[in-house]
């Protein structure tokens, strides 16, 4: 291979330009705006600003409401990520073993993914409605009166169920294709060595799926943190009340519902830092132990 592939020194930069432009316009510029706005108190109509230094950060980080939202975000993200990974993987393994009608099962399991988050939220609202919700009637059989919108935990559980349900097919698709890329010879060799299919899964198949699992974990964490907004907004019916809320939803509430742009910007900068830290941790620590073939 030739060492000089570009005639001009500027060639590579020119080719990078479109990508850099996209990143600058859609990420760097708004991010810089948010950082800048987070140091001010802003009048919503005219944007006249009063410099307040780090006050917006202090206000957010010392508020009980913010602490509660952060706590819920951690639980919500952990539960949704693990539930989607676990159930999605289980369904994929099961579907992989099915010999007859394979495609029908797969299609049925996948098509939930085509539902947009707000629609999923609306379905959740109806299923968990206090007066007419079928799932509320179902839970009542076990002697629990489920009150979504009144009880914090009932609402939290309903949100987690709807958010997980929506994301399971995504996990399913990726794990299934991961399973199909494992060579048959490996499976057959394992089958000779060990009779227990469960043990074979954990010692042979699961490690071979590690790159897929790692990727899905990152994607699902991002999903739970950011893309569940539509579901949450619909399930609380626009009234936060005493309902659980994630940090992203709180950014929206304070900024767009409450018109406190400075405070909301500070919260989104905090989120940005969290995500940055999370990404570094994931890639530095976890990826080291995972081997892509």
């Amino acid at each position: 291979m030739k060492s000089a592939q570009f005639d001009s020194r500027f060639g590579p930069y020119l080719l990078l330009l479109p990508q850099m432009a996209v990143i600058s316009i859609f990420f760097l510029w708004p991010a810089a705006e948010a950082v800048w706005a987070s140091f001010f108190l802003e009048d919503p109509f005219f944007g006249t600003r009063v410099f307040v230094g780090l006050e917006n950060y202090v206000t957010a980080l010392t508020s009980d409401d913010y602490a509660r939202a952060a706590w819920f975000t951690v639980i919500f993200t952990a539960v949704v990520t693990l539930a989607t990974l676990g159930i999605g993987m289980w369904l994929a393994v099961a579907a992989d073993n099915v010999l007859r009608g394979n495609n029908t099962y797969k299609t049925l399991l996948m098509w939930v993914y085509a539902i947009a988050p707000p629609v999923a939220g609306l379905i959740g609202v109806m299923l968990f409605d206090q007066h007419i919700g079928p799932l509320v009637d179902f839970v009542a059989l076990f002697g629990h009166e489920m009150q979504v919108g009144v009880s914090w935990w009932d609402t939290a559980i309903a949100m987690m169920i709807v958010a997980s349900w929506k994301q399971i097919p995504y996990t399913f698709i990726f794990v299934l294709s991961g399973l199909q890329s494992i060579p048959n010879s490996v499976r057959e060799a394992a089958a000779i060595d060990c009779r227990s299919s469960i043990r074979r899964f954990w010692t042979v198949i699961f490690p071979l799926l590690a790159p897929t699992t790692f990727f899905l974990m990152i994607v699902n964490i991002t999903y739970a943190l950011f893309e569940t907004f539509g579901i949450i907004d619909l399930m609380v019916k626009g009234e936060p009340g005493n309902n659980p809320k994630t940090l992203v939803y709180k950014v929206y509430l304070d900024g767009f519902r409450g018109n406190d742009l400075g405070g909301s910007s500070a919260q989104s900068v905090i989120l940005m830092i969290l995500v940055l830290a999370l990404t570094i941790v994931q890639f530095r620590l976890i990826e080291r132990r995972i081997h892509y073939s």
């Binding site: 108190l41 508020s63 609306l122 009880s151 914090w152 019916k237 009234e239 009340g241 767009f256």
Partner: protein, 438 residues
């Protein structure tokens, strides 16, 4: 949201974009109105626009539904900053401080009418309505539009079955509630704790709600007087009722609580006088309404309640001929015929004395006695603290109240702690707001 109102909502959205455009004339001055009236209310707004457009040819009004009250205000602000705002924006009671507190964003309705030579007399308007959207000097900034006040609806069958009459005071409620429970009903539900059990609690008992003349005299240094014995007593009792099965709480959402009444589960329900039109369609039992109860131990005789609902604000930065069209529309809107139509179809209070007289003459209140409750309650004796309130970041303050009230009801916190929290968080928000306008 139940299915019915969802369908009504989507239907109204579709209608709002098509209906008024069918009427006409290319050379008419186009003006836009962004509103938050969904469902049946949106249909009535469209009908008023259609009538206005048919009635004259100089101006053409295009109404657009922008979601709930909060969403509408947010859309208006975003559009204002981009210079693409509508001529008229409907802003609700809790958002009044935000829009009035931004000097230069709004052209005062009174000035607009005067400048364009449209006749205007503040005394045409009923008292309660006149002050809420006025500045501290009494000049009308917003044009009152859908004005409502909280009233008590009751299921006549349920009360007959229990052998009780609707309560005038909370003391009477405590007497009759066990009988309603025995008859198999949840005695009482309500749809908006900050509005009905907080703001109007202060007005009904003529208690000061905030310093600086309830906030009208300026945002700086305004403090909410919420951590006070009377309201804490009220919430302590409500929590007792809840625990004893005498009060039903179905969350912060308006419809979840209204549904309890509509399905016949709750015998009485505190809602808006503007809910009347909707209830006529959604209930299949005879219902009527009476005044918002008060505590006799606080005041012997009750005072009038605050006006709720929303007003129309003419936004600044529009060409003179459009402002003229806006003023014409304001005038048309407050004409007795349109006011009476709006009142009759929705249950919102007529804002002018003439419209109220017209409704009386027409025998509307003989047919529907419940429809008069709202306006009678607003016309009860006024007190020092019944004019209204003007508080910044009030949407967030209401959210804080809703959160803490929910925590009281679920037993996560007690009344003393909850009100101390509301006080400190609300005052911190008021202080932040004062600094954005300063």
């Amino acid at each position: 949201m139940d299915r019915r109102s969802f369908i009504a909502l989507t239907g109204a959205t579709a209608l709002s974009t098509t209906l008024p455009r069918m009427a006409h004339a290319a050379d008419a001055t186009k003006i836009t109105l962004w509103h938050a009236m969904g469902g049946r209310l949106g249909e009535v707004v469209n009908e008023i626009a259609t009538r206005f457009n048919a009635d004259q040819s100089a101006a053409m009004l295009e109404p657009a539904y922008k979601g709930g009250y909060e969403d509408t205000l947010t859309s208006v602000i975003a559009a204002f900053r981009a210079g693409e705002h509508p001529n008229i924006a409907q802003v609700f009671d809790a958002g009044a401080a935000t829009i009035i507190g931004a000097p230069g964003a709004v052209a005062a309705a009174e000035d607009l009418l005067a400048e364009t030579g449209v006749a205007f007399d503040p005394n045409d308007y009923i008292d309660g309505v006149r002050y809420f959207y006025a500045d501290s000097a009494g000049k009308m900034i917003g044009m009152p539009f859908n004005s409502s006040t909280p009233i008590l609806y009751y299921n006549e069958d349920a009360l007959k079955k229990a052998g009780v009459t609707p309560p005038k005071t909370w003391e009477e409620f405590q007497e009759i509630a066990p009988k309603l429970k025995e008859a198999g009903y949840v005695p009482l539900a309500q749809s908006h704790l900050p509005w009905i059990f907080t703001e109007n609690f202060f007005s009904r008992h003529n208690l000061q709600f905030a310093t600086n003349n309830n906030g009208f005299d300026g945002a700086e240094g305004t403090k909410l007087l919420i951590n006070t014995p009377e309201i804490k007593m009220h919430f302590a009792r409500v929590k007792e009722w809840l625990d004893a099965g005498l009060f039903g709480f179905y969350g912060t959402g308006w419809n979840d609580n209204q549904a309890a009444f509509e399905t016949g589960k709750a015998a009485m329900w505190l809602g808006s006088s503007g809910s009347f039109g909707g209830l006529l369609k959604s209930t299949n039992f005879p219902f009527s309404a009476t005044f918002l109860p008060y505590w006799k131990e606080i005041t012997e005789q009750p005072y009038s309640t605050f006006i709720g609902g929303a007003a129309l604000f003419a936004l600044s930065g529009k060409p003179a001929e459009e402002n003229r069209a806006t003023a014409e529309f304001f005038k048309y809107l407050s004409s007795p015929e349109i006011q009476y139509y709006w009142h009759k179809e929705t249950g919102y209070v007529p804002i002018t004395k003439a419209a109220y007289e017209m409704a009386k003459m027409d025998g509307h209140y003989e047919r529907f006695p419940a429809a008069e409750i709202g306006i009678l309650q607003l016309n009860e004796r006024a007190g020092e603290w019944t004019r209204g309130y003007r508080l910044g970041y009030y949407v967030q303050i209401r959210d804080v109240m809703n959160r803490e009230y929910g925590r009281i009801f679920s037993g996560e916190t007690d009344v003393d702690t909850a009100f101390a929290t509301i006080e400190s968080e609300a005052n911190a928000l008021l202080d932040r707001f004062a600094r954005t306008t300063g």
